[in-house]
């Protein structure tokens, strides 16, 4: 009976303490600042560039002499792509798409993956087996075919927009490995003393899963989530190849990098700028993820 107020107390202090611990981690703070800066730049940058110079991500110069790839200069700090479009504007716009895709798809994969994996792992037995076999089936069905069908069924005439389909397609696959990892962790935790104790005192299954097991599997989950973000961004580049990614003349970091690597021998700046921007963002996200992991770790909390 007295369990309830104690848990509420623990709940509030968990997040506040975690936040303080996070702020003490210098690398994590740096990561947070860089990610924040990147979000602001991607959100506001294209508009500012347009007002200052008139360049947009899809502006191809009228003068045919300018329709080619120029190296970085004062007017084009990152140079231009082969259609003469300002690379800075394209990289910032690509950032919008990539960040959105990466974060939303990862979030979806977290929610589905954790719930599914934790349920399967905790319940165990036949239910676990059925749930995991279902994951195996989903793994095996050719993703490409799903995407092609998804597109043909909803792509051509329905009002569902392309971006939504993209999230759907990415979300559909990214939670699979996540759920397996969570399940593995939960299985190893569920027989530990604190869970057994909770069970013995009659705490409900749902509460055990969400209050006791979940915080303890967060470590690997956060690490895997930070791995999922780049993976999803690259998946997006692959989907563009199939025609389900973002539609031209929009671009994403993945598609810019793919174009850049093709032209590396001739126009190296086409790879360097999108590539470095993407790498810096991923590094920052990762430092942030590591910081979060340490901050939320229930073991460190004890110390």
């Amino acid at each position: 009976m007295s369990a309830i107020p104690i848990e509420v107390l623990a709940g509030t202090s968990l997040w506040r303490n975690a936040w303080h611990r996070l702020l003490r981690n210098r690398l994590a703070v740096l990561g947070m600042i860089l990610v924040g800066a990147m979000v602001v730049a991607c959100a506001a940058g294209p508009g500012i560039i347009y007002r200052a110079t008139g360049y947009t991500y899809d502006f191809i110069p009228k003068d045919s002499g300018l329709v080619k790839s120029f190296p970085p200069s004062l007017t084009h700090p990152m140079g231009t792509d082969i259609a003469g479009r300002d690379l800075l504007a394209r990289v910032l716009l690509g950032g919008r798409i990539s960040l959105m895709v990466g974060i939303i798809a990862t979030f979806v994969s977290l929610i589905i993956g954790i719930t599914y994996g934790a349920t399967a792992g905790y319940l165990g037995g036949k239910i676990d087996e059925a749930m995991m076999r279902a994951v195996d089936v989903l793994y095996s069905i050719p993703y490409m075919m799903i995407v092609i069908v998804l597109l043909s069924l909803f792509g051509s005439r329905s009002p569902l927009n392309q971006l939504f389909l993209l999230f759907l397609a990415l979300g559909a696959v990214s939670w699979l490995t996540m759920s397996r990892i969570v399940r593995g962790q939960v299985i190893s935790l569920k027989n530990q003393e604190f869970v057994l104790a909770a069970r013995a005192t009659g705490v409900s299954r749902r509460k055990i899963i969400f209050r006791h097991l979940m915080p303890n599997v967060l470590g690997p989950v956060i690490v895997y989530a930070t791995l999922t973000i780049p993976n999803v961004m690259l998946q997006e580049a692959f989907l563009s190849f199939l025609g389900l990614g973002v539609q031209a003349p929009l671009a994403s970091w993945g598609s810019l990098a793919a174009e850049g690597i093709r032209n590396i021998a001739v126009f190296p700046w086409q790879l360097i700028f999108p590539g470095v921007t993407m790498a810096v963002t991923l590094f920052s996200l990762n430092f942030l993820g590591d910081g979060l992991r340490d901050a939320l770790d229930p073991q460190t909390r004890k110390m």
């Binding site: 995991m132 195996d136 190893s188 690997p220 780049p230 993945g254 790498a279 460190t300």
Partner: protein, 306 residues
Amino acid sequence: MLKFVIRRLLSTFPMVLLVVTLTWGLIRLAPGNFYTGERVIAPAIEKNLRAKYGFDKPWYVQYAKLMSNIVRGDFGTSLKYEGQSVNEILRRTLPVSMTIGLLAYILALSIGIAAGTLAAVRQNSRVDYASMTLAMLGISLPNFVLGPLLVLLFSLVMYWFPPARWDGFPSRSVVLPVITLSAIYTAYVARLTRSGMLEVLRADYIRTARAKGLDEKTIVRRHAMRGGLLPVISFSGPALAFLVTGTVVVERIFALPGMGNYFINANLNRDEPLIIGIVAFTSIAILLFNLLVDIAYAFVDPRIRY
């Protein structure tokens, strides 16, 4: 345990048929046909083509035929590649994909686990930062960027390895594809190992071990490794399945005659028997490797019982 393994192995069969059925349905839903081409073909030729491959029969007859063939282990003949049976294609491409995939897997596991463990044991030290930064580099350099970069450096500047094509194993042509393929997996394994180990190193039984006065090496090897590798094990099942059944990007960049290359084109060509053959094969691999993973769980962590 044995009962569990047998039950799982037996369940593989209906599962593969389920996967095949779903895939078959998806192919039927997708627009276009294996003969769709730039020029619209005359209805008469279309009819001839459909008759030639049995597409003129009702769908349930086609489905029944497909299933009965699969049960007998015969996946039929490719629609796109005249006269090549799917079994033959699998037999020819699998060794290539498997060689590259297994080598990459071994490389990824050995380097990844070593680096991850070291990083965890010396948390927040230089070793930790260096190996984790390298791991991040592996992740943020997509393989379609890493491959060409390696080729530029090692084939076109240094002339150490051929830029593409397959010369069999062992040969120099194996090196660059394997490195390219393993980079991201190494990074994944390293990061998962580190976080798993960190988790475990603080667990009560490790403290007990420390309190008993065991030296750090033994603690890590005997006790921590077991629990710490759980996330890696979860990850490695599907990873291995995907690695050995072909990875499209690497096979395309290096022009390797592997399964991935066939698979992507089979999808684009709507080559039904070939898609189904490769999917069935992949699903068997996934089911088996995940079974291995579950067995490995039980070995690594004695608390887990089936």
